[in-house]
């Protein structure tokens, strides 16, 4: 009967990646993130000195030939601490958001799919969690649990679970009404199969986009917590902790604040640019404009 000339099938991921990289602003974001990632991964080889090594005689030196970016109040090399600090920032932000996406996303997806009373109650609980200012919640969790990398990840993750539950639930409410879900039921598919095979792939993109943007928030939160003194315990180098050291010695050396501040800015900006680019690429309405 009808035979239509069909074009070559293209994987939707590749199309998205192509569009992503063609926008110069998004590309800049990708590059910024790549720089930080490279710095973190290659820290053992790139760092000129041991980040924990103290040289009291050279303390609070400005940027110069011996210490590229200067030293802190204990004479530790700023550049090396910056590179190793990148590991903490990336690790904490990635793991905390990844677990929030998985846990929060699962809660939101299941709640939206089941609907009814269960959904109502679950969302009330999420709303209660949402009503806590996230930084305060993070602060309290860390104060209670103690400062370690694991606890930091847990604390930040908890602040993001409720938002992701909401983010995952909204599209599920729409998809639930689509005929192909009912078709699955009519064909004898189990609820589990429908959730994992038919619902989840349709919300994954949304989750990934928001996940990237939230990673930027997580980096900021981790830095803020370290700045207050609730982050990873010294002497482990973290960008927020370095800013705290710089702040305490600000009258002696303003440079101590500037380098880690710029580092945080670069990473957060990069993540925001990439997240924004992903938003534009995946939003059908924006594409139509």
């Amino acid at each position: 009967m009808t035979d239509v000339a069909l074009s070559e099938p293209r994987s939707s991921w590749r199309v998205m990646a192509g569009r992503l990289l063609s926008d110069p602003v998004t590309l800049a974001g990708v590059i910024l993130c790549a720089i930080v990632l490279a710095g973190a991964l290659l820290a053992p080889w790139l760092a000129p000195r041991d980040p924990l090594e103290q040289n009291i005689l050279d303390r609070l030196a400005g940027p110069g030939s011996e210490y590229l970016l200067g030293t802190d109040q204990f004479g530790r090399d700023v550049l090396s601490r910056l590179l190793w600090g990148a590991r903490i920032s990336l690790l904490v932000s990635f793991l905390s958001i990844a677990s929030a996406v998985v846990v929060g996303g699962a809660i939101g997806m299941v709640s939206g799919y089941i609907g009814g009373r269960f959904d109502l109650v679950t969302m009330q609980v999420m709303d209660v969690l949402l009503s806590f200012p996230s930084l305060i919640l993070g602060m309290i969790m860390v104060a209670l649990l103690g400062s370690s990398v694991t606890n930091l990840i847990i604390a930040i993750s908890l602040t993001a679970i409720a938002p992701f539950a909401r983010i995952a639930r909204a599209p599920v409410l729409v998809i639930k009404e689509r005929a192909f879900i009912e078709a699955g039921r009519a064909l004898g598919f189990s609820h589990l199969r429908i959730l994992l095979v038919h619902v989840l792939p349709n919300i994954v993109t949304d989750l990934l986009v928001m996940g990237t943007l939230w990673m930027a928030t997580a980096v900021r939160t981790e830095a803020s917590l370290s700045f207050i003194g609730l982050g990873v315990k010294p002497p482990t180098p973290t960008w927020g902790g370095m800013m705290r050291d710089g702040f305490e010695n600000i009258l002696d050396s303003a440079w101590l604040c500037i380098w880690p501040g710029l580092a945080i800015l670069v990473l957060v900006l990069g993540l925001n640019l990439v997240g924004d680019g992903l938003c534009d690429v995946t939003d059908p309405k924006a594409n139509a404009q």
Binding site: V25, Q124, V125, D127, V128, S131, F132, P133, S134, L135, I136, M139, I140, A143, L144, L145, G146, A216, R220, A223, S224, F227, I228, G229, L230, M243, G246, F247, I250, L251, A254, C257, I258, G261, I264, L265, V268, L269, N272, L273, D276, Q289
Partner: protein, 312 residues
């Protein structure tokens, strides 16, 4: 209208109750004994037990819970374990400073953000638009304490325009204003970034709607289109964002107060955290969450005013 307000008020009661319960549980999930935290591990078992009894920690947890609830509803949040003054007093002294800062930041954020967003939307993809988008993205990416410190370095240390220490002299409101500028700008700029983005996208969406095209076709002057038809509808999502953002704003004010050494809730909560002042922490959390719930309520109700569809 009244029925709508009452409905929203009643709906927020269970949330408040849940928040109070969560706060109670959170603070009690402490690994470690608060009595030891206060007295140190050299204290004798008798003094520890005495302190525990005084703090009410030896009673059944249910009794503590109802005690806490009862007092909280009546406004009595207990006594600080460290300063021995009523929690409420500490908070009441610090709260006005935080509120002033928050309001100033909101004012800056909206006064910069909304016109900028509208301007950018009207000049879509033009140089103004691109610049605004980049600047707002930059503003979003600065953690508050980073931008605060940078501003401090530039304006206070280098240019000596503003003071470094932020404690305003009581009674001298010009000095107070002077010391408010940098912290308020720090917070306000970040908020402006959010507001610009939402205003811009909301304005763009509204301008593309059919009823705008109809108005243009009818010959309504451009200015009237923008202000009367476009802006008022575009402002609805902006109100949402502002309402949502207040929570973040309150959190960020903590950091700003630390950076600029201002009195306020920030200092109180940080000292409570580092000294493990549990009663204080409990009271602070209740206040913070209560503030958020109130702000959400106000946002919801103002929706009822802006968007008549919401009321039914």
């Amino acid at each position: 209208m009244i029925a709508f307000i009452i409905r929203r008020l009643l709906a927020s009661i269970p949330t408040l109750l849940a928040v109070l319960t969560l706060v109670f549980l959170l603070v009690r999930v402490v690994p470690g004994d608060p009595a030891i935290a206060i007295l140190g591990d050299r204290a004798t078992p008798e003094t520890l037990a005495a302190l525990r009894a005084e703090l009410g920690l030896d009673r059944w947890i249910g009794a503590q819970y109802f005690d806490f609830l009862g007092h909280a509803i009546l406004g009595d949040l207990g006594t600080s374990m460290v300063t021995h003054r009523p929690v409420w007093t500490e908070i009441a002294e610090a709260l006005p400073h935080t509120i002033v800062l928050t309001l100033a930041a909101m004012a800056i954020g909206c006064l910069i953000g909304i016109p900028a967003g509208v301007w950018a939307a009207l000049n879509r993809n033009g140089p103004v638009d691109v610049l605004t988008r980049l600047l707002s993205l930059l503003g979003l990416s600065f953690p508050v304490f980073v931008s605060g410190i940078f501003l401090l370095i530039v304006f206070a240390l280098q240019l000596h325009l503003f003071p470094v220490i932020g404690n305003p002299r009581p009674g001298d409101w010009i000095d107070g204003l002077h010391k408010l500028v940098l912290p308020a700008v720090t917070l306000g700029v970040v908020m402006a970034a959010y507001v610009v983005r939402v205003t811009r996208s909301s304005m763009l969406q509204v301008l593309g709607e059919d009823y705008i095209r109809t108005a243009r076709a009818k010959g309504v002057p451009r200015r009237a289109i923008i202000w009367r038809h476009g802006l008022s509808n575009a402002l609805i999502p902006v109100v949402t964002v502002v309402g949502l953002y207040v929570g973040i704003l309150i959190g960020n004010s903590v950091l700003t107060e630390i950076v600029f050494n201002r009195p306020g809730l920030g200092k109180v909560i940080v000292s409570a955290l580092t000294q493990r002042d549990y009663t204080m922490l409990q009271g602070m959390m209740v206040i913070y969450c209560f503030l958020i719930v109130v702000v959400n309520l106000i946002t919801d109700i103002s929706y009822g005013f802006i968007d008549p569809r919401v009321k039914q």
